[in-house]
């Protein structure tokens, strides 16, 4: 121990940490002195604690020795030293052994200490007691709990709360005292105050008591209800934290039993105008959360009142209420943006708030409530400050803008300009730039009007882009979209620049991209120049680049000379494979035994999509994800989902990261259907499958036998697949068949061929029964009445076999009918410019419907989309709930012939029902007529 180090920490100005060993040595000597110097000891303890707070730690033996010497300081009566001793005991108890030895000294203080040290002594009990000794503090804690001094009572309540996990039975005996502590108002005693402070009584003991009482009664619903009733009466609770706790209690109760909510509505309404902002906030949080889960059980007045409360919180000068209210509004905006449009003026005034967190939240919320009208003004506001915020905020904003671009394609100009601006002029890391580029790629794929502007600007961007990954993506995009633009040569120049200037990874991507321009129809002179460029590249120093250039040249050559289709396909791929199906097939192929390798892998069995179909699927996926993402985020704040919620909020911006698991499963499911069908010889004869519908439920989900139907369409046949689940636990079903009778047997154009029954369906198993029909090549639409027939057999629990001699008895079960409609002959497809495509189609058909059912526009829109299996375009799939009319635009292709069909449905909601006018145009007359006339 040199004097040097000792001196160094003596002057605390240096700010350096004291030396660990020096402190240890001085503590050991000073604390064990016969005459204790209180001032010195407290100073030493402070230094020791400073070491510990900075992450230093002591080995167990040293910590125990320290703990032991510190507990000697209990002999000194000075309260000021005593407080420091308790701090040290709490900190050291985690790392030293034998902490129990301090218990008796502490207990003595709890009984006889001054009002100043008593609470500290009580609270330090948490650290020294364990499962076997906790009960010994029962009497002390109980009497402290009812003490009139608020600090003592609070200390006892907190300690009991901490001890709950290890001493439940002991703490449970405090229920009555705790109940009393909630009701009992304990003012802070004004006599005997040490310093010159004038404490205000906050009655925070109520909060601690309420928290503990909840823990003791949380499994008793009636007791909780009684608590709420009792404590919500006439200002029983003075402390605002306690009031917030009570609101949370209501939340807890109504989450478990939503039906109770109705009784609490008046109470909640009162709380919305409570004098404490925290109570207003918590109540508004409760109401809006509840509304997202159980919108039917909540009165619209109450919801509106909650929004008004939040709105008023937005205008308070303090930051945290504003922030809190914005967080809630932002959550609502993802689920039902129309409900918070009233707050728009307040939100707009917050855009320029000096607090970036607040302005970002305000903007993303506004963007979600945005309408076509105010988008461009919003974007110009954002442009002003986007360069000043951090990357994280930029990404959040970009994502909000990206979903806008899909919802309001007509606003593409301002959106694209904005994105280009941030891309070129914005400072930012890879994640941010990648997000911007992804947003632009989305626009290029789904907003054709914006395509060329966006592409040209991306070309400029790659001139000085530092991220390889982004460069490669853009090059690929240019290769895909460039050849079909009006001036392909422009892009060729930019791509070739990359070949000259960049590294080999980018060069190889650029080569492939270049080769796609060779067959561009818009500029036939290009071919020669591309070939000469590629020839030059073929001398590149990198193997991969050379290889790619050579093979591209070969393809181009054979595609031109011999009009070789195959080569052309290689250059410009017209379709892509169903990747998830390809993956699973390849995996099974590889894992099978070696013999099967003698037959080559048959890639034809994998579903292929043309570009339009792939785009349609992608758009639909994005739309779904947008909705789904919203719901997930909307759910985030509900208690019980605490774990996910944290993630959801931080990942708010990752909604678009890729296909979700569900989609993946959906894809695999359809591949599974194909496999199953093709394994049945009788069906295999029908040729290749043209289209499969989604599974439709034909029974209640609670029925004993759950049946779901899938319609498979072949060129001259139809197969109904019925997936039947047996939900009984002790009965097997034998010989399960379905009888499908046409609704009008006389006019039926379908001829039943065969039925493949399920031989035996064991409990909680699912099986498939097939019914096949032959049909003409034309489109045939028909309704079928279905009856499920089977023989039930009781099972022997032990063998899981039917009892011998049990004949079983035959039963019949009517299920919903299945409709073969025009929609089953259509695949959804994407088209960039809906209105001009619509006008170009030759055959028109109009039909008018009057829907008497009392349903919302959105419900009918959803139903139409499912029935037609078309893709809704121009984001017409969302009907706004405050308007009485809506126009839905649908586009698809015939599954049999690939001819286009477009439908515009105009909907008007009146008091009598919904009037609907469908206008369809198609290349195929009959399909058009069938679809338009069979919408509902």
């Amino acid at each position: 121990m040199s004097t040097h180090t000792y001196k160094k920490f003596e002057s605390s100005e240096s700010g350096d940490l004291p030396d660990k060993m020096t402190i240890y040595q001085s503590c050991m000597s000073e604390f064990n002195e016969s005459q204790i110097n209180a001032k010195k000891c407290r100073l030493l303890i402070a230094r020791l604690l400073r070491l510990l707070a900075n992450g230093e730690t002591f080995p167990e033996t040293e910590a125990t020795a320290l703990f032991f010497s510190i507990s000697k300081l209990f002999q000194h009566p000075n309260d000021s030293l005593r407080q420091a001793v308790y701090l040290a005991i709490k900190e050291l108890s985690g790392i030293s052994e034998d902490v129990l030895m301090a218990t008796s000294s502490i207990m003595k203080d709890v009984q006889n200490g001054s009002d100043l040290v008593k609470p500290d002594a009580i609270r330090s009990l948490t650290a020294v007691l364990d499962e076997s000794t906790a009960f010994s503090a029962e009497r002390l804690l109980k009497s402290a709990l009812v003490n009139k001094h608020p600090s003592i009572s609070s200390a006892a309540l907190c300690t009991s709360y901490h001890l709950l996990p290890i001493a439940e039975t002991t703490v449970k005996r405090f229920a009555n005292e705790t109940q009393e502590a909630v009701v009992d108002l304990k003012p802070f005693p004004h006599k005997n105050i040490v310093g010159d402070y004038y404490p205000n009584s906050t009655f925070i003991t109520q909060y601690h008591a309420l928290g503990l009482l909840y823990q003791l009664k949380k499994n008793d619903k009636m007791a909780l209800l009684k608590m709420i009733r009792q404590f919500s009466d006439n200002n029983m609770l003075k402390n605002q934290l306690a009031k917030v706790e009570l609101v949370k209690l209501v939340n807890e109760v109504t989450t478990k039993d939503p039906q109770l909510f109705i009784d609490f509505q008046p109470l909640l309404n009162d709380w919305l105008s409570n004098k404490f902002e925290s109570v207003q906030l918590e109540t508004a949080k409760l109401i809006t959360n509840f509304a997202t889960r159980n919108s039917r059980l909540i009165s619209s007045e109450l919801f509106a009142a909650a929004i008004t409360t939040l709105q008023s919180l937005l205008t308070v000068p303090r930051t945290s209420p504003k922030f809190a209210a914005l967080r809630i509004l932002n959550r609502i905006s993802m689920v039902s943006p129309e409900k918070i449009v009233v707050c728009n003026p307040e939100l707009e005034s917050l855009i320029n708030d000096s607090n970036r967190n607040i302005s970002t939240y305000a903007i993303t919320t506004l963007l979600k409530t945005g309408t076509a009208k105010n988008i461009s003004s919003l974007i110009s506001t954002i442009t002003k400050f986007i360069h000043d915020v951090s990357d994280d905020f930029k990404i959040i904003i970009i994502d909000a803008i990206r979903s806008l671009s899909l919802n309001f394609p007509n606003e593409w100009k301002s959106i694209v300009n904005f994105l280009i601006d941030v891309l070129k002029n914005g400072e930012g890391g890879f994640k941010f730039k990648n997000n911007v580029v992804e947003a632009l790629i989305d626009i290029v794929s789904f907003v054709p009007q914006a395509k060329e502007t966006a592409l040209e600007n991306l070309c400029d961007f790659i001139e000085d882009c530092e991220f390889n990954e982004i460069l490669v993506r853009i090059l690929h995009l240019l290769g895909k979209e460039g050849p079909s633009t009006s001036t392909p040569s422009l892009y060729v120049r930019h791509i070739y620049n990359r070949v000259v200037l960049e590294n080999s990874i980018i060069r190889s991507a650029a080569v492939i991209s270049l080769s796609k321009f060779a067959l561009s129809k818009n500029d036939s002179t290009l071919t020669e120049s591309i070939i000469s460029l590629l020839k030059r590249i073929a001398n590149d120093q990198d193997d991969e680049v050379r290889d790619r250039a050579t093979i591209s040249l070969k393809f181009i050559d054979s595609a031109r000379k011999s009009n070789n289709q195959e080569a052309q396909v290689f250059i410009e791929s017209k379709y892509s494979y169903d990747l998830s199906a390809l993956e699973s097939k390849l995996a099974t192929y590889i894992s099978s035994d070696k013999d099967s390798f003698s037959t080559p892998f048959d890639v034809k069995a994998i579903r292929r999509f043309t570009e339009d179909e792939a785009k349609a699927m992608e758009l639909r996926r994005k739309q779904d994800q947008f909705l789904k993402g919203n719901l997930e985020n909307g759910r985030e704040s509900t208690p019980g989902f605490t774990e996910e919620s944290a993630i959801a909020d931080s990942n708010e911006n990752s909604n678009f990261s890729g296909p979700s698991l569900d989609d993946h499963e959906q894809d695999l499911l359809s591949t599974k259907y194909v496999d199953e069908l093709m394994s049945i010889d009788q069906i295999k004869k029908f040729g290749s499958l043209v289209n499969s519908s989604k599974a439709v439920a034909l029974t209640d989900p609670e029925a004993e036998f759950i049946v779901r139907g899938v319609k498979h369409l072949f060129k001259e046949n139809v197969v109904f697949q019925f997936n039947i689940t047996n939900t009984l636990t002790d009965t097997a079903l034998d010989n399960v068949t379905l009888t499908c009778t046409p609704e009008n047997p006389d006019e039926s154009q379908l001829e039943e061929l065969f039925t493949i029954p399920i031989v035996r369906l064991l409990p909680s198993e699912e099986g498939a029964c097939y019914v096949a029909f032959s049909k003409s090549e034309e489109i045939v639409m028909e309704n079928f009445l279905n009856t499920l027939t089977f023989t039930t057999r009781e099972l022997n629990q032990e063998t899981n076999e039917p009892f011998e001699g049990d004949e079983g008895f035959q039963d019949e079960y009517d299920i919903d009918s299945i409709f073969l409609n025009a929609g089953d002959y259509i695949k959804s497809s994407f088209v960039g410019d809906f209105s001009s495509t619509f006008d170009e189609l030759p055959n028109e058909e109009v039909a008018v419907y009057n829907v008497k059912e009392n349903i919302s526009l959105q419900e009918i829109v959803d139903r139409l989309i499912v029935n037609t299996s078309c893709l809704p375009l121009e984001s017409t799939q969302y009907a706004s709930s405050d308007s009485n009319s809506h126009t839905l635009k649908l586009f698809g292709k015939s599954a049999l012939k690939g001819s286009k069909i477009a439908v515009i449905v105009q909907l008007i909601k009146t008091s009598k029902g919904i009037a609907m006018k469908a206008q369809g145009r198609a290349e195929d007359v009959t399909l058009c007529a069938d679809l338009v006339n069979g919408l509902m």
Binding site: I45, G55, F188, H208, Q240, V244, E252, E277, S278
Partner: protein, 187 residues
């Protein structure tokens, strides 16, 4: 963890103007065993990294409240130190603000010449006591700054009895001699 839990504060931090730790305490409900906060309260390395990033995020930003790595963070930047209080995402922001104000204002009361690094280091014992009287293992214990300050003792003076006597006697002696001088001069 149920939203009704009293454990609403996850950490209290004091960082200096370079983002280095002056004080840090990560709370965890005692006697539960489970690592609820991804062991942030256990690993010093993670804590240091967390503090570094948090500081970068908040330094010279003056936004008072933000969400950082699944924590609700309230903070206040002073001349050369920043005070932080961390809570869970579900916690009521205004309740946390109450706790944070109690923490901040009680320091203001007990540190006579304002909140700065030197003052905090010189009166480390009092700062620790104030924090301990504000938050007990994550439970908000008291929200009134004056109540908290009144419960924080000043360090004991050295042998107070002797000091006082000596001082008074000395003063008395001094006064007496002065008086005598005056009287003599006057006469």
């Amino acid at each position: 963890m149920s939203s009704l839990s009293l454990y609403s504060v996850q950490a209290v931090l004091i960082l200096d103007s370079a983002g280095k730790r002056v004080y840090a305490k990560y709370y965890e409900p005692p006697h539960t065993g489970a690592d609820k906060y991804k062991a942030l309260s256990k690993s010093l390395k993670k804590q240091t990294e967390f503090e570094k990033q948090l500081f970068q995020k908040t330094h010279k930003q003056d936004s008072e409240v933000l969400i950082f790595e699944d924590h609700l963070v309230l903070y206040k930047e002073y001349l050369d130190v920043t005070l932080y209080l961390l809570g869970s995402m579900e916690e009521n922001e205004i309740v946390l603000q109450q706790a944070f104000n109690a923490f901040k204002d009680s320091l203001d009361l007990i540190l006579n010449s304002g909140i700065d690094k030197k003052n905090i280091q010189e009166n480390y014992d009092m700062v620790l006591l104030a924090i301990d009287e504000t938050i007990d293992d994550g439970i908000i214990l008291e929200t009134d700054p004056a109540t908290i300050a009144s419960r924080v003792t000043k360090p004991p003076s050295n042998d107070p009895q002797m000091d006082l006597d000596k001082g008074l006697l000395g003063a008395w002696g001094f006064a007496k001699s002065k008086l005598q001088e005056r009287l003599q001069q006057g006469i």
